[in-house]
């Protein structure tokens, strides 16, 4: 297959459009002056400032707590759900429910959850963020694991039963290893999503700064103005996400191209 010169140019410009803003941001985070106008030399000063700022460290810790717990819950629940859905009759109503969290505008889910918690008089905090994050994390784990479920030869499950294995043994020794790449990829993706999620966390964190997450901290800083610290933090956060996503892709080759 050949690619015309026009197409090639478009593709190059398209990648430039995607990556130039990110690369500029990363470059500026190492600029001593910290300003976009002039390059005054390489410096790690802004990273140093970041790691000594208490609110940022605290926000990072909160983010990790939320992401780890919601990922573990969503991975277990979502994997079971995916297996359950793929081993029963197809239902478009069920598909719609499982697809909904991915497509409902964040702001709508955020206010719905806020209303729900306040209706039940639930005190807001990290726990309410976790409960909320599990909702969309489940949807992503289900989507990835279902793709995996569809892409292997289901007769291996019957073969296992035929060779004398109980349903539990078949689940543990045949089904789980077969879908493991999808489960791992789904977990990594939901971790990434949870680390980056802002609006729902913002609405369900409650007043006060005790349950501020990193994206909430970033949002506050951006509203305040362009600062060199944001560039440094953005660089770190982005590199973490990129690494996680690339590892997820390694785990399950079809995770993005299904």
């Amino acid at each position: 297959m050949k690619m015309g010169a026009g197409l090639k140019l478009h593709l190059v410009l398209f990648y430039a459009f995607l990556y130039v803003p990110i690369l500029v941001l990363m470059a500026l985070s190492f600029n001593r002056a910290g300003l976009p106008t002039v390059w005054t030399g390489f410096s790690l000063e802004w990273y140093g400032k970041l790691f000594t700022a208490d609110p940022i460290i605290k926000a990072a810790r909160n983010t990790l707590i939320v992401a780890v717990i919601s990922t573990v819950l969503a991975t277990v629940i979502g994997t079971a759900l995916a297996v359950g859905v793929e081993t029963r009759r197809k239902s478009s109503a069920l598909d719609a429910v499982l697809f909904a969290p991915m497509i409902i505008p964040d702001i709508v889910l955020a206010i719905a959850l806020l209303s729900f918690y306040s209706f039940l008089n639930v005190t807001l905090g990290l726990h309410s963020i976790i409960l909320s994050h599990v909702v969309f994390n489940i949807a992503f784990v289900v989507a990835v694991v279902r793709t995996r479920m569809r892409n292997f030869d289901h007769s291996i499950l019957e073969a296992s039963a035929d060779l004398g294995a109980s349903e539990f043994t078949t689940f543990r020794r045949v089904l789980l290893p077969a879908i493991a790449p999808g489960v791992i990829a789904g977990a990594l993706l939901s971790f990434t999503l949870s680390v980056d999620e802002f609006i729902i966390a913002f609405f369900t964190a409650g007043p006060g700064s005790s349950s501020t997450t990193l994206p909430m901290q970033i949002y506050a800083m951006i509203r305040f103005g362009v600062t060199p610290e944001i560039n440094a933090m953005a660089t770190i956060v982005m590199l973490v996400s990129f690494t996680l996503v690339l590892v997820a892709q390694r785990a399950d080759k079809e995770v993005f191209t299904r």
């Binding site: 995607l18 990110i22 500029v24 409902i104 206010i111 729900f116 980056d196 362009v226 191209t257």
Partner: protein, 284 residues
């Protein structure tokens, strides 16, 4: 009987979770939309249609229309950018295609706030774009690129185009290559082949990507908040305002119902189109 039990054990926790933390909360704000606002910002449980009447007020209707216009333009530009990119990737050597796709989708999985912030850095008066334009002598004064609808559209296109590339790529990939060769063999020039053979076979991918961009754009809150001018840019900001500033939850709930209705209508149309395309595929 046993299978039913197994199904229940697998499905119950997940469906229960989604019911409790998605379906019920959404149902709750649906009912809120029919009640009156309390004096101190709570809910007075008195049935009313007033919230919906207010949403139809020219002031708010204007915001709705502006949101739809911005989302529509973002969708259009995203498709115009994504289609040739996706097409170019299908034409690249097979062994590079996965890598090319991963690099399209990679930014999509990084922090949305940061991706939007990157455009504040790009578009501001001292940003790379203004610097380059001045350097090239195109303009002597920095252009006002930031805090307007242009910046919002750029931000939305930037954030959502990767998904459109993916959707179009996967539908392009499903085309039988020989239909393209057949068209060329029958004497069709390149663009005719594209218009009459390739585009009709990929229209469902375009629709899926387009609906995705439009739905996420019209309900967006962060991009207009950070890149747009004025306080009440789009529906998302209006809803935000009702909940966190104005403390008029019933009205905010009514506005979200509007948003959900638009979203469902689009998804339904898309599903119908996709089904019809699939039906035609089977018939031929």
């Amino acid at each position: 009987m046993r299978n039913t039990l197994k199904s229940v054990i697998l499905l119950a926790p997940g469906l229960g979770w989604l019911a409790l933390f998605m379906v019920i909360p959404c149902a709750l704000i649906f009912t809120y939309a029919f009640f009156e606002r309390g004096v101190y910002g709570g809910i007075d449980y008195i049935f009313t249609f007033e919230n919906f009447q207010r949403a139809a007020d020219p002031l708010y209707l204007g915001i709705f229309l502006r949101s739809a216009k911005i989302a529509g333009l973002a969708t259009l530009f995203a498709i115009l950018l994504a289609y040739p990119a996706a097409y170019a990737i299908t034409r690249a050597p097979q062994r590079y295609q996965t890598a090319l796709l991963i690099f399209v989708i990679l930014p999509f999985w990084s922090n949305y706030l940061i991706r939007t912030y990157a455009w504040i850095v790009m578009l501001n008066r001292e940003g790379l774009i203004n610097q380059s334009l001045i350097g090239l002598g195109v303009t002597s004064e920095p252009l006002p690129l930031l805090y307007n609808n242009f910046a919002v559209i750029v931000g939305l296109v930037y954030n959502y185009t990767p998904f459109v590339v993916l959707a179009i790529y996967s539908s392009l990939n499903r085309i039988n290559r020989e239909t393209i060769e057949a068209s060329e063999d029958l004497g069709a020039p390149g663009f005719t082949t594209f218009r009459r053979v390739i585009l009709p076979q990929t229209i469902t991918g375009v629709a899926a990507g387009g609906v995705f961009v439009f739905v996420l754009s019209i309900g967006n809150f962060i991009t207009p908040d950070l890149l747009g001018g004025g306080r009440l840019q789009m529906v998302g900001n209006l809803i935000y305002d009702q909940f966190l500033s104005a403390r008029d939850w019933p009205f905010g709930a009514a506005l979200s119902m509007f948003l959900i209705a638009v979203m469902m209508a689009l998804l339904f149309t898309q599903a119908v189109l996709t089904n019809r395309a699939a039906g035609e595929g089977r018939a031929s």
